[in-house]
Amino acid sequence: MPVQGIFGTTVELLGKSLDLRAKRHALISSNLANVETPGYTPSELSFEGQLKSALNQGGKGASASHPRHIPIKGASGSLQRVEGDVVDLGNARSGPDGNGVELEAEMGRMAENQIMYNATVQILGKKFEGLKQAIRGTL
């Protein structure tokens, strides 16, 4: 019985986005740590575009190369390959010491990332709860 089938694309997507948001937090932390370092260029992780195209690829994802392999369902193959790009933000607003980190912007981005991470965890929990309820047959 293919147990993997009860978790759809959405659970896969939520798990991957948790992964990516954790990496984004690491980059934001390093931007904040280097807010006073001369000559430092801030960087960020961009992954929304990659997630979108991975989802659109959907059905054409991975296919079984050998008849006895269990094919990966739906978009999971291409979703697993999403890694996110580390993009340099540039030194447009750098001070005289060559440091380009904007403290306020980084704090804002960190808050947004944290809220989205927590929201994703909650939605994932809700999905699992719904599955458990269906299995149990009652509340």
């Binding site: 959405t10 939520l14 989802l55 989205m116 929201a119 994703t120 309820q133 509340l139």
Partner: protein, 101 residues
């Protein structure tokens, strides 16, 4: 005691607007079956809506967190209601089967 009182189960289908006009002339079993089927369809649709909004949240589009939360809650609550309706229906059926003829 009138055996035709069993026909009053159709009142359940009339309280929900889905099957309103057609509930009365049909026999209770078929009416309730259609009701359940409709409910399952609606719940499935709500679940798909929720999935769509989650995907749009993850890719950074869509109206935002509140849209996702509402869609997910609606899907979850309607699923719970469907489960409870099914459980009650099964319970009622078993109750009836237990009755000595």
């Amino acid at each position: 005691m009138q055996i035709s009182a069993i026909g009053n189960i159709s009142g359940l289908t009339q309280s929900l607007p889905i099957q309103g006009a057609q509930a009365a002339p049909q026999s209770p079993a078929v009416g309730f079956g259609n009701l359940l089927q409709d409910m399952v369809g609606k719940v499935s649709e709500l679940q798909n809506n929720a999935d769509q909004s989650i995907q749009s949240l993850a890719t950074g589009q869509g109206k935002g967190l509140h849209e996702v939360m509402l869609a997910v809650e609606k899907a979850s609550i309607s699923f719970q209601m469907l489960t409870q309706v099914r459980n009650k229906a099964v319970e009622a059926y078993q109750e009836i089967m237990r009755m000595p003829v």
